[in-house]
Every structure is written in C-alpha cells, then in structure tokens.
C-alpha cells in the first residue's frame, strides 16, 4: 500500500499505417475517396515544387530568408485534410502543404516570404491564422481560439502546430495546461523534425517521446509517423472527433524530418551528418504516398506528368503575380489601430512631405525582387 505504481488512465500510442516502402497495413487503412487521395498527392507535390522554387527565388535575391518544409509535407497536410472550413488551423511556419490544402494561394505565400504583410491575408473561406515566428507563442493563442470554439459550442475545433524545439518553451506547457484544465477542443500537433536549428531532438528533452508530455496535462497523446500521410489522417480524425464531442484536447507528435536547412541562413552540414539525411530521404513522405497510390492503381507516370505540368503552370503564374505586386509604401501606417491616431497621422504627413518633396526622385519601397 505505501508504494505502488500509479495508474494514469490516459492513452499514449504510436501509430503508422504505411511502411517506409509504402506498404499499407490494411487493418488501419482509412477509407478515403479516390479523388481525395489524388488531390492529396497533388497538394504534396505542389508543396514540394513551391518549396524548391522558393529556394531558387531566395538564391536569386527575389524573396528573403526562406524556411523550407521539404520532408514535412505529410504532417501538416494530414491535419488540414481532416479539418472543416469553420475549424481553425494555427500554423507555425513549416506547414506549407497544409496551408495549400486550406486554400492559401501560392502567390500569397510567396508574398509572405518576400517580405510583404499581404502574405498574411487569410483566405476568406477558412478560419486560419497566418504563420507565426516566435516559437511556441502560437500555442497560447491557439489555445484561446479553441476556448472560443468551446464557448460557441458549434463543434468547431482548433489545430495548432509547433515544432520539437517549441516543447522546451513555457508557452507550449502553459497552453497545454489550460487546454487540459478547461477541456478545450484543441489538437496540438508537434512537428518533431528532429532538429531545432542545430540542436537535435535528443538534446531538447530527456523524455523518450514528445507525445508523453500530454500525460502531465491530463490529456491523451499519440506519436504518429509524421511521414505517413495516412497515419496522420487516422490520428487526426480520432482527435478531432473526440474534440468535437466534448472529449477535450489531444497532443499529436508527428515524427518527421527536416530534409533541408532550418532556413536559407544556415548550413546543416555544420551540425548533422549526410548519412542521417540520406536515411530520412528514404522515408520521404511524398515517395511513400506515391507508392501507395501506385499500388492502388490511382497513379501512374502519365497522371503524374500531367500533374507536374499543371503545377508548373500554376506555380509560374503565382511567381509572376508575386513579382508584379507593388505595395502602397504608406500602408504600414494604416493598420495599427481601428482608426489612425493623431500621432500617426502626423508622422504620416511628415513622411509624405519628405518622400513626395518636389525636385527629387520619388522614393520607392525596396523590393527584394528588384
């Protein structure tokens, strides 16, 4: 009696549906419409091609610092796939595939990486938040949004993303704690991509998994193969159903890998070995899902070539749209308050008087893309 193992009635699972070779475990396979499966693949492929184009554009000086999503497409896409339009998706900044699925135009994502606030303008049809830079801080407002869902009682839920590094921040823990206490319809998705810039997952926490952190906050946790789109969809579907029906929050750890650099400002060869990257390349979520679709007879070289052609066309148009964007240089002075304050009005007049002074060249906003 004085000493016994505590029984904590919470579930902690790991889940994979596809093998690294794309073989499916039929007992776990979700039954998804064929048209959805093809669209999912096309979205993953689009994300990959956009990612590659962004790297090029960055090297050409046409966008700013870029943080690639390469290798992590399945984690955000599987989450976004399960959400309804009136659900909320709160991204960090490596959720390119999920954002594309939700309807973010490629040109808008380019605007964001190109240094324009217009890249934050949320598509009308969805309740999404723009990307968030201060690590883990989005967990806090994601929790607050989930609270709003609960108070409205309309069955909507909030999916919030963070990375393995974020799990060391206080905001992550505070947000999960509140979500547990108030039984909020929050699905917190950790994209464990193994690296927080140069710090490996093993140095981030002594815990065996990140999913187990759920236990401390009185919620279920699941560690899912984040490079397995079907597994992410299965885990997310269960978590969302639970959240919609008052069952409260879930922590999902999507185990994935950042195949590229943290951002274009760092060189990963300084902190990790090429063999490690090669091992993970073999588990590329895009290739695995492709094999699955080929095995199911839903994809062949001809269909894929057609997809590539469509994507190249859409991407070309998006890049053109981005490059043609010319913002109003004074717009930054107009959105701090519902109504511009007298102080800002004065500052704007000063700036206009300077920039529009006669007999000199009119000033222009500096464009990264020249």
């Amino acid at each position: 009696m004085p000493r016994e193992v505590l029984k904590i009635p919470l579930r902690l699972e790991s889940l994979a549906v596809l093998s690294a070779q794309g073989e499916v475990d039929a007992s776990l396979e979700p039954q998804l419409p064929e048209s959805d499966l093809r669209r999912l693949y096309k979205t993953m492929l689009t994300s990959r091609r956009l990612d590659e184009r962004c790297l090029q554009l960055q090297r050409q000086g046409r966008i700013g610092t870029f943080g690639p999503s390469r290798g992590q497409e399945a984690a955000s896409l599987g989450v976004a796939y399960v959400l309804r339009d009136d659900d909320w998706l709160v991204p960090s900044f490596r959720e390119l595939a999920g954002m594309l699925w939700r309807g973010w135009p490629m040109s808008r994502l380019l605007l964001w990486w190109g240094g324009h606030e217009a890249g934050n303008i949320v598509p009308e049809n969805v309740c999404d938040l723009p990307m968030c830079i201060p690590i883990a801080s989005q967990c806090q407002y994601g929790m607050g949004i989930a609270w709003g869902c609960k108070l409205r009682g309309d069955g909507s839920v909030c999916a919030t993303f963070c990375g393995d590094g974020a799990t060391s921040e206080g905001d992550f823990h505070e947000a999960l704690n509140f979500a547990g206490v108030y039984n909020l319809p929050l699905i917190m998705v950790i994209q464990n991509n193994q690296w927080a810039i140069s710090l490996p997952r093993s140095a981030q926490t002594a815990a065996q998994t990140l999913a187990q952190k759920a236990i401390a906050y009185g919620m279920d946790g699941v560690q899912v193969d984040g490079n397995d789109l079907l597994a992410v969809i299965v885990a997310m579907t269960e978590a969302v159903e639970k959240a919609r029906t008052g069952g409260g929050p879930t922590l999902i750890e999507a185990v994935t890998y950042r195949l590229a650099m943290h951002t274009t400002a760092d060189d990963p060869s300084k902190y990790r070995k090429a063999e490690e990257v090669r091992e993970w390349e073999a588990r590329d979520p895009l290739l695995r899902f492709r094999r699955y679709l080929v095995n199911k007879g839903l994809l062949d070289e001809k269909i894929e070539a057609l997809m590539e052609e469509e994507i190249a066309k859409e991407l070309g148009a998006a890049v053109q749209e981005y490059l043609a964007y010319r913002p109003d240089p004074y717009e930054f002075l107009h959105h701090m308050y519902a109504e511009q304050t007298p102080e800002l009005r004065r500052q704007e007049s000063e700036l206009r008087a300077y920039l529009e002074r006669p007999a000199e060249r009119p000033a222009q906003v500096e464009h990264a893309h020249g």
């Binding site: 909320w88 606030e117 217009a118 934050n120 303008i121 949320v122 938040l129 723009p130 201060p134 801080s137 967990c139 806090q140 407002y141 994601g142 929790m143 607050g144 949004i145 989930a146 609270w147 709003g148 869902c149 108070l151 409205r152 909030c158 206080g170 905001d171 505070e174 947000a175 704690n177 509140f178 206490v181 930054f332 959105h335 701090m336 308050y337 519902a338 304050t341 007298p342 102080e343 800002l344």
Partner: protein, 326 residues
C-alpha cells in the same frame, strides 16, 4: 448617484459591460471565488457564472494568450494580471501578438481585449508589487494605455477600454483603490480615447501628471497658490498613449512654464516624451526650462523607503518654485 471608491467603480464598469454584452469575459487568477485580491471582481462569478468570470491557473502568459485567441474568435476578454510586477511574464505575448494581429492580418483579425493590472507603489507591498511599467507599453504601437485618476473616470475609461476595437492596457493605481470616494452617475458613462482633462485651472505654470501622482500634483497646486501666490494649472492625461497633444500644447502656450510629474522612472519615461513634444511644438512659448519630478532610475525601494522614491507634493512644489523663479 452613488459614492464609490476606485475599486467599486471598476467593479461596476465590469458588471455593466458584462450585463450589456454577453461576449465580455473576465479571466485571471483569483478573480472568481476570491473576487480578486483587491476585490475588483466582487460578485461577478455569482452573477455571470464560471464561463464568464473565469478563475485561471497561475500563468500570466496563458491568461493573455487565451485572451488573444478569444478576442480573435469574437469575444471581448478582460484579462487581469494580479500585479504590475508579474505582467512581464506575459510581456512577450503583448509585444508579439496582442498589438500586432490587426496590422499583421490587415484587419481580418483584431484583438479587442483589455489587460487590467494594479499599478504603481504606495501601498507598502512586497517587491514586484509596486512597479510603474507604463512606458514599456507606451512604446508598443498597437496598444492604447490608460491610467485613471479617480472613481468616476476609472469607470468611464474601463467602459471605453472594453468596447474599444483596439487592445488596451488599463493600469489601476493601487494607491487610489480606496483612497477616496466620488459620486458616479446612475447611467454608464464613457470617455474618448486619447483625451485628457484640465484637473485644475491656472495661469502661471502647468503641472502635467496622471494616475496616483495627480493627487500630489493637485496638493502641490494648492500649496503653490496658498503659500506662494502661484497659480498652477494641473493636467490629468488619463491616456499616456495616445497622448493628448492639444491639451498639453494649449496649456503650455498659456503658462510658458512646465512641470511633468509621474512615479515611473525618469529615463525614457512618459515625461521624456511629453517634454520632447513640448520642445518640438511649443518651444518658443517656454519661459523656463522644463522640470521632471519622477521616480528614480533605480528599482523602487522596498516599501519601508518607498515614500522617498514616489513623487509627493513637496517635491513638485520644490521643482515648481525653481521653474517659476527662473
């Protein structure tokens, strides 16, 4: 008409707003069952229930972060930080998100929330319970910052804050919580954002102040009048962001002599901004150098010695005489 203290007036404003609009929520530590450590939230749990007057776990950042998310999803949260000195635990969220979402999303998501906190010294409290951090918030564009000076304006300003479409930092001078009573009208009142008031008319010099220091300024004005024959005008800014330039310049151009008094530290304090604006806009009206009577560029001493630190009528009179006799 009822005679209320500042605490009761704030409590009344909260209850009125919650009655009027079901989207108004109050959240913070000990705001429910305990009714707030200063009793500001007395009766709210009973009247509005635990979904609208919410006792939270002890985490300032999550209180503010939840407020951001609730505001984005259509609610009007009033977040209480238990003491000014603990507001820094949530400061990153104020900087990163509270003040930025409107601009970030070009108006798609706004954060019409209020962050209330007991503010300033003078109640013999422990360390971290007497800070005056207004300048830190004033520096963050996207926020408005208000500091009431009495029961009637405390109620009206909180109403203005709760129904403002922009996020508001509402700082409650704790030295005033129960310092005096004032009649407040039956019907709810509101006050415009960014407008201060003339607390006392005068013609020889201007004392610009706000919050608990306003009382010292008014006392000083009495003493200057009665003992030195100097007529001091006293301005009560109420809003330290945005500042009421018109009020300041009108008075300064009339008197030509200026004292700025606040309890926050001097360096880059609100007084520094006021002086800069006077120099930029009304320099040629000045008859004497401006003087600032403020807290010091130290941490506020522990309470046994806090009176030395806080500006009082004596220090304001001393400075005013120098300015008057220049």
């Amino acid at each position: 008409m009822a005679e209320l203290t500042v605490v009761k007036a704030i409590n009344l404003a909260l209850a009125e707003a919650m009655r009027e609009n079901p989207r108004v929520l109050v959240l913070g530590q000990d705001v429910g069952v305990d009714e707030g450590v200063f009793r500001v939230t007395e009766g709210l749990l009973k009247e509005f229930g635990p979904n609208r007057c919410i006792d939270t776990p002890l985490a300032e950042a999550a209180i503010v972060g939840a407020g951001v998310g609730l505001a984005i999803s259509g609610y009007l949260p009033v977040c209480e930080i238990q003491f000014d000195g603990f507001s820094f635990q949530a400061f990153h969220l104020v900087e990163n998100h509270v003040r930025r979402f409107r601009n970030r999303t070009r108006g798609r998501y706004t954060v019409p929330m209020v962050i209330r906190m007991p503010y300033g010294g003078g109640i013999r409290a422990l360390e971290h319970h007497s800070e005056a951090p207004e300048a830190l918030y004033v520096h963050l564009a996207g926020l408005h910052v208000v500091i009431p000076s009495g029961p009637r304006n405390a109620r009206a300003l909180l109403r203005a804050a709760i129904f403002s479409p922009d996020p508001i930092i509402y700082l409650e001078p704790k030295a005033l919580y129960r310092a005096f009573r004032e009649e407040v009208p039956e019907e709810p009142e509101t006050l415009p954002i960014g407008k201060g008031r003339v607390a006392r008319d005068g013609s020889d010099l201007t004392i610009i102040s706000y919050g608990a220091t306003l009382r010292a300024a008014l006392e000083a004005a009495d003493e200057l009048d009665q003992e030195h024959g100097i007529s001091a005008e006293v301005l009560d800014l109420l809003w330290v962001a945005p500042l009421d330039d018109e009020l300041i310049h009108t008075s300064v151009r009339k008197t030509g002599r200026v004292i700025v008094a606040h309890e926050a530290p001097r360096r880059c304090g609100v007084g520094a901004e006021i002086v800069a604006r006077i120099v930029e806009g009304s320099l040629l009206y000045l008859e004497a150098p401006i003087k600032r009577v403020t807290g010091f560029d130290t941490v506020i001493p522990y309470f046994a010695n806090e009176r030395t630190y806080l500006p009082d009528a004596g220090r304001i009179v001393h400075a005013a005489l120098e300015v008057a006799r220049f």
